[in-house]
Structures are given as structure tokens and as C-alpha cells.
């Protein structure tokens, strides 16, 4: 009886989780294409440059962030290689350093998202 309940509840959760992507499509899609209607919707008119800017924002940020985090991870790995016993103590500051570097990339991601919303994603 217990086993049946466990199997049934697992199956139910599986089905519910599979069905939830149906909720993912919300919000209206952009349907206007002439300038007046777009301005009314809050979208920009010349959106070519803004789209390029959004792509560049996240691209450069990911590039710089990758370099920075690579250096942090390399230093941490070298420290562990020199002194394998200190691996636990090195892991903490390494994770913290990686998270702080990543937060700069996240700031650029916010700007990218703001720009992308302006061109009507």
C-alpha cells in the first residue's frame, strides 16, 4: 500500500511537471509594426541599433566575466595543487570570489534584458 502510494505520487508529480510548460506562454506577443502603434506600445522606432547594443552588452560582459573567473579558478586550483589538505578552506573564498565576479556580468545582463524588451521580445 505504501509502495503504491509512492509510485502513484511520483507519477502524478511527473505528469504535473510535464504539463506546466503550458503555463509558460503568457503575455501578448508584439503585433504592431508601424511606428505609431509601436510607440504606443512603448517600443522604440529604430530598433536595429538597440538590438545590436543588447547583443554586444551581454557578449562583452560574458567575455570579461569569463576571463576574470578563469583567473580566480586558476589561482584556486593552483593553491589546491600546492596544498591538497587546504582544499576545503580554499573552496569557500573561491566560490565567493566567483559569485562576486559573476555579479558584474549580471549587471550587464540586466541592461541587455532591458534593451531587448524595448525591441519587443
Amino acid at each position: 500500500m505504501q509502495r503504491t502510494i509512492k509510485i502513484l505520487s511520483t507519477l502524478l508529480t511527473f505528469l504535473v511537471v510535464l504539463g506546466l510548460p503550458a503555463l509558460a506562454f503568457a503575455g501578448g506577443d508584439v503585433t504592431a509594426t508601424d511606428p505609431a502603434a509601436m510607440k504606443a506600445e512603448g517600443l522604440a522606432e529604430n530598433y536595429g541599433w538597440i538590438a545590436i547594443a543588447a547583443g554586444l552588452a551581454i557578449g562583452l560582459a560574458a567575455f570579461g566575466g569569463g576571463l576574470g573567473q578563469g583567473r580566480a579558478a586558476a589561482a584556486a586550483l593552483e593553491g589546491i595543487a600546492r596544498n591538497p589538505g587546504a582544499a576545503g578552506q580554499i573552496r569557500g573564498p573561491m566560490i565567493l570570489g566567483l559569485a562576486l565576479i559573476e555579479s558584474l556580468v549580471i549587471y550587464a545582463l540586466i541592461i541587455g534584458l532591458l534593451l531587448t524588451l524595448k525591441v519587443g521580445a
Binding site: V16, V17, L18, L20, P21, L23, A24, F25, A26, G27, G42, G92, I95, L96, A99, L100, E102, S103, I106, Y107, L109, I110, L113, L114, L117, A121
Partner: protein, 258 residues
């Protein structure tokens, strides 16, 4: 890929909820766009999810306290990982975390505050991973609240510790440098809650969007690594927020030793 429906949308079937929501919207919605970030309109979902997280924490605290009432005063942990055991583990690891960040002497004083902040952010973050919910911390609405709370508390603790001489920290080492140091210090102090809020929001929103996009592409088995990544990010962002809060509190109350 905007916001998606949550289980709380089913509340809209009730007339009293719609009336309450409309009333709150008429009272609280911004008339002017102060910060037009991610215009998503009005929703009270994040308040309800926060409420669920807070109630969960209260129940956990009650389980923890009931453990203290056992004959040996909670010295022996339970045998299996049940609710009480999870909270005991959380409480002990948080105490080690706060002690590592602030030193032994201050740890007792700040542990309730940092512990509550950590659990609040952790449980709110974890809602992003559950299907049918969204994290309250991926909206700027919750995060700015927590960040301003930390910001005001740093100044409160600084003034409580040092008196009004706390504001001499803003003036730098020499009187001649005041025109240089004062703007820098003020800007850096303002950047702190802004960066705390945006960091948490950006991480949670990006993680949630990635998860949702993989869910809509291939719902079977492919989102699994992203769920694991999401677990790591949720935990890590709570840790980073609390570490920075501890650093700010520590800097506010430190006595300079030359």
C-alpha cells in the same frame, strides 16, 4: 518570455480575492514610472509566495524548539533526516558561517539577524525551482526591500557602536581630503544596496528564464542539469548576500586598530 502563471492565479476565481487585489492595486500601484525596469504590471503573487516561505520557516522553528523540549534538551539528533533535523543542521551551519564572517564575539549578536536573512532569501530563491511558482526574489520589489533593510541597519549599528563619530568615517583620513573622500564614500554607500538587490534579482531572473526555456523546449530529463545549477545558484546567492551583509556590518562596527 515574460512571467508565467503560478498556482496563485487560481485565486482569481474568487470574487473576494479580485476585489482585494483591485483595492491594493488602486492604493499601491506606482502612478509615475520611477524605475521602469521590466514593466510587468501589478501582481501580488510575490507577497503570497513570501508568506508561504515565512510560514515554512516558522514551522521549522517550531520543530526545532520542540526538539529542545526532549529529555536530553535536543542533544541527540534524530535518526533520519526529517524536518527537525534539517533545521537543526541549517541552524548549526549558519552559526559556523556567521562566526567565520564576523568573528566569535560578534557572532552571537548578529546570528539571529543574519540567520533570518539567510533563511528568508534561501527559501524564497528555492521557489524558483518548483514548477508552478516563481521566486519573489527575482522581482526587484522584494530585493530592494531587503537591501534597504541591510543598508539602514549598517548605519544603525554604526551609530549605536560609535555614536555620532561614526559619520567621521565618511570624511577620510585627513581633513584636506574631504572634498575628495566624501562623494566617493557616499556613492559607494549608495551602490551597496543597489548592487545587492540587482545581483540577487539578476541571478534569480536569469536562472528562472533559463529553466523555463529548457522546460518549453524539451520537458523530459534535459532540464535536470539546469535544476541542479539552479539549486547551486539559489544557495550561492543567499550565501553571497549574507556574506556581504556581514562585511558591511563588520565595517560599520569595527574599531580601527593601528
Amino acid at each position: 518570455m515574460g512571467e508565467h502563471g503560478t498556482w496563485f492565479d487560481y485565486l482569481n476565481r474568487f470574487d473576494w480575492w479580485r476585489g482585494f487585489d483591485g483595492w491594493m492595486q488602486s492604493k499601491l500601484q506606482r502612478k509615475s514610472l520611477l524605475v521602469d525596469m521590466f514593466p510587468s504590471g501589478w501582481s501580488m503573487t510575490h507577497i503570497l509566495i513570501t508568506l508561504v516561505a515565512v510560514i515554512f520557516t516558522f514551522l521549522g522553528a517550531r520543530a526545532f524548539l520542540s526538539g529542545l523540549k526532549t529529555p536530553d534538551q535536543g542533544l541527540v539528533p534524530p535518526r533520519t533526516m526529517n524536518f527537525r533535523n534539517m533545521f537543526e543542521y541549517l541552524a548549526e551551519s549558519m552559526y559556523g558561517f556567521v562566526e567565520g564572517g564576523m568573528g566569535e564575539k560578534n557572532a552571537r549578536r548578529f546570528y539571529p539577524l543574519i540567520g533570518a536573512l539567510f533563511l528568508f532569501i534561501l527559501f524564497n530563491n528555492l521557489f524558483a525551482l518548483m514548477p508552478g511558482f516563481s521566486a519573489p526574489t527575482d522581482t526587484l520589489k522584494t530585493n530592494v526591500g531587503i537591501a534597504i533593510f541591510v543598508f539602514l541597519l549598517t548605519h544603525y549599528f554604526g551609530v549605536k557602536e560609535h555614536g555620532v563619530a561614526y559619520f567621521k568615517h565618511f570624511l577620510g583620513p585627513m581633513p584636506a581630503l574631504i572634498p575628495l573622500m566624501l562623494p566617493i564614500e557616499i556613492v559607494s554607500h549608495i551602490a551597496r544596496p543597489v548592487s545587492l538587490a540587482i545581483r540577487l534579482m539578476g541571478n534569480m531572473m536569469a536562472d528562472h528564464k533559463v529553466l523555463m526555456s529548457f522546460f518549453t523546449l524539451v520537458p523530459i530529463l534535459v532540464p535536470l542539469p539546469f535544476l541542479l545549477l539552479g539549486l547551486l545558484v539559489c544557495l550561492l546567492q543567499a550565501v553571497v548576500f549574507c556574506t556581504l551583509a556581514m562585511v558591511y556590518f563588520g565595517m560599520a562596527i569595527e574599531h580601527e586598530e593601528h
